[in-house]
Amino acid sequence: MQTVPKRPRSNHLDLAQRILDAVRQGGFRLGDRLPEQQVATLCNVSRTPVRAALHLLSEQGVVVWEKATGFTLAVDPAATLGAAAELPSADEDRLADSILRDRAARRLDGTVTAAGLSRRYRKEKRTVLKSLKILEAENWLEKAPGQSWLFRPAQEGPEAIAESYDYRLLLEPASLLEPGFRADETQSSALRLGMEAQLASPESAFDIREFQRLDLAFHGMVARGAANRFVGQSLADHLRLRRLPGMLHGVNVFRLKQSTREHLAILDQIEAGQFEAAADLMRLHLRLSRSQRPQAASRGAPVLPAAAERRGR
């Protein structure tokens, strides 16, 4: 059974995933110590969030903490890719996931109320309100006048998806071209490993959820690397909308592999400091991804105007 791809519940969850990527890339093994400062340096963040993320991993059994030694790896990091996505969440987090899942599946209308959600999910209203606040903070919905909450436009339907690609075509190459762009090298390396592993898998075993994780992380890295903070923030906010469940159901695996190869080619140019080439490849990548499935035609396809006029019908 497919589980719903998780929203970014917190920075700690994202960071826990980055820690896993970093320790794997860094060649850490089962039983190795994970000094907080070293991990913080690897992930380019301060020690405080690293400690919180390590505690999340500790709850999952990925690391253990002892007073004498601090955190040590309790598993083989190569075998735990994606483990952070399985981290348990609070009740309101799980409810927020369910609300998103059901909105994506059109079980919920574009406007909801806390009372209605409380009845539907059999949760206390205060829990529902906490979930709505989480979703509001992540720009999924906004408070409307009165008791209603309004879902923001999502990437649903061909027109919205096309507009999203148009928007990204403006900003993602711009992020790469702005002087001062800086990619997270550790994450870049971890992404490369993950993408190469995906390319090595046969189409019949292709993990679409893993593709989605890597795809989001790759484009998120481009957004975070922007020297212009407003470009980076706008992109990051927009890319979050792509985490909606079911976003990739209609995409062919051949195209996903092709897309992965395009990601790798862009990474090559970023790592070589060739940002103009990276931006060109990004434009190409986004244009190819934007290509829509055909408009339906069928046996007895519409009699188009020219032919009808010619026969005088």
Partner: protein, 424 residues
């Protein structure tokens, strides 16, 4: 054999998803065998074949650019006709459709001629219901794929094409007479066009002659008919379906989902009938199963979807059907063959064309049931689903047949036959 030196096989499916995806299945195996499959395609299908990694060459159809609302207009115009009987559809749907198909063949002629000259294929795989004269006169070996029901090739033991009748039905002669009358104007126009390019006229019910080189029929053995004049096995090969390979599909999470998995897909045409699908969904809400529903480009039209229903605009259908316990479809031949290939019972709700024939055959062969599109009741739908989900004997027979079909896939048979034709 290297890819560079392999023969060029041009696949030329008609502008329908069934034919297009059927050809994708053949092309996937041709590519594995080292051939160079390329697609000649209708401009409206841009991107479909490229998504599977194949080169696309678009037919030039001057003045034929479809408006964004063309398809919706077409569906809206014809939806009432799909509630009519096959006999009543002859004048309202079948005849205008043949007129449109003849238009396509005439309009494609110059562009196809130029494409064949440029591509220089070693063979052309034509998955269509009409001949393109420039192909017949090109001298290039061409393969006819009969991706409709077997009824497309007439025989005394085979019911009339598009009739939905049993072979021995008393109404047969009347249907045949009225079919010929309805399509006569299009047929005469097409024959005049053939004459203008030096091709002989076709008999009154035919728009496409058998290929003198090779003909491929999708028809699986379990639904095959015993013809009074068997097809020449040197020129006609039964493929036992022709199911493409797709990426994996994981069923979505349902809030309260339990029970068997049912897939509903009415094809690109049927997805436009929102009212019908909404009515079915309201029944699904009360039935103890999980439903995956393909709603094509009309997803925005739905709201308050029940907790045991998941809908989306596209699915990797073979991968979905493989995991289902029941497939509710329109009788499109690809859908019917996919159900048989994976050993899944069919509940056929036919709209038009050979969907009627496959619905009839599903019942006759004991591989499914038919539901009347216009007159079904909630009780009938529930009863049909319960019957098909509970029929252990049918399921066992379908699974045995599935094992036979998948042991020698039609895509492989087709690709091998095409390569044998071009001497590779």
């Amino acid at each position: 054999m290297t890819a560079r030196s392999g023969p060029i096989i041009a696949l030329f499916p008609e502008a329908s998803f069934g034919a297009a995806l059927n050809c994708v299945g053949i092309a996937q195996v041709l590519r594995e065998r080292g051939a160079r499959p390329v697609f000649i395609c209708h401009p409206g299908f841009t991107g479909l074949f490229a998504d599977y990694g194949f080169a696309e060459h678009h037919l030039s159809l001057p003045g034929k650019e479809a408006r964004p609302d063309t398809w919706q207009d077409f569906v809206r115009r014809h939806l009432p006709h799909f509630n009519l009987s096959p006999l009543e559809q002859l004048d309202t749907y079948v005849a205008p459709t043949w007129e449109a198909i003849v238009d396509t063949a005439i309009d494609a002629e110059p562009g196809l001629n130029a494409l064949l000259a440029r591509l220089k294929p070693d063979a052309v795989v034509l998955d269509n219901v009409i001949m393109f004269p420039t192909l017949a006169t090109s001298g290039i070996p061409w393969v006819r794929v009969v991706s409709c029901a077997e009824t497309e090739l007439p025989d005394a033991n085979v019911p009339p094409y598009l009739s939905g009748l049993a072979a021995e039905d008393a109404g047969r002669a009347d249907f045949e007479r009225r079919y010929l009358a309805a399509v006569a104007p299009a047929h005469e126009r097409f024959n005049r066009f053939r004459a203008s390019v030096g091709l002989p006229a076709l008999p009154s019910s035919e728009f496409l002659e058998p290929s003198p080189w090779l003909n491929l029929l999708l028809t699986p053995d379990i639904v095959k008919r015993h013809r009074t004049r068997p097809l020449d096995p040197r020129k006609f090969i039964y493929l036992e379906g022709c199911v493409r390979s797709e990426g994996p599909f994981e069923p979505p999470e349902f809030p309260d989902g339990k029970g068997p998995l049912v897939y509903l897909g009415f094809g690109s045409l049927g997805a436009g009938d929102v009212a019908l699908i909404e009515r079915m969904i309201s029944v699904f809400a009360t039935f103890p199963a999980r439903f995956i529903v393909n709603v094509g480009g009309f997803r925005d039209a739905y709201r308050a979807v029940p907790d045991n229903v998941y809908l989306d605009s596209w699915f990797p259908q073979p991968s979905v059907v493989a995991q289902c316990n029941l497939f509710i479809h329109h009788g499109g031949n690809n859908s019917f063959c996919e159900a048989l290939y994976f050993g899944v019972p069919s509940l056929v709700v036919p709209y038009c064309w050979d969907g009627h024939d496959n619905a009839q055959r599903a019942v006759e062969a004991g591989v499914g049931l038919r539901l009347d599109r216009a007159k079904w009741t909630e009780r009938e739908l529930v009863s049909a689903m319960s019957t098909l989900l509970g029929d252990a004997s049918m399921r066992r027979r379908l699974k045995e047949n599935s094992a036979t079909m998948s042991a020698n896939p039609g895509t492989v048979r087709a690709a091998d036959a095409v390569l044998a034709l071009v001497g590779r």
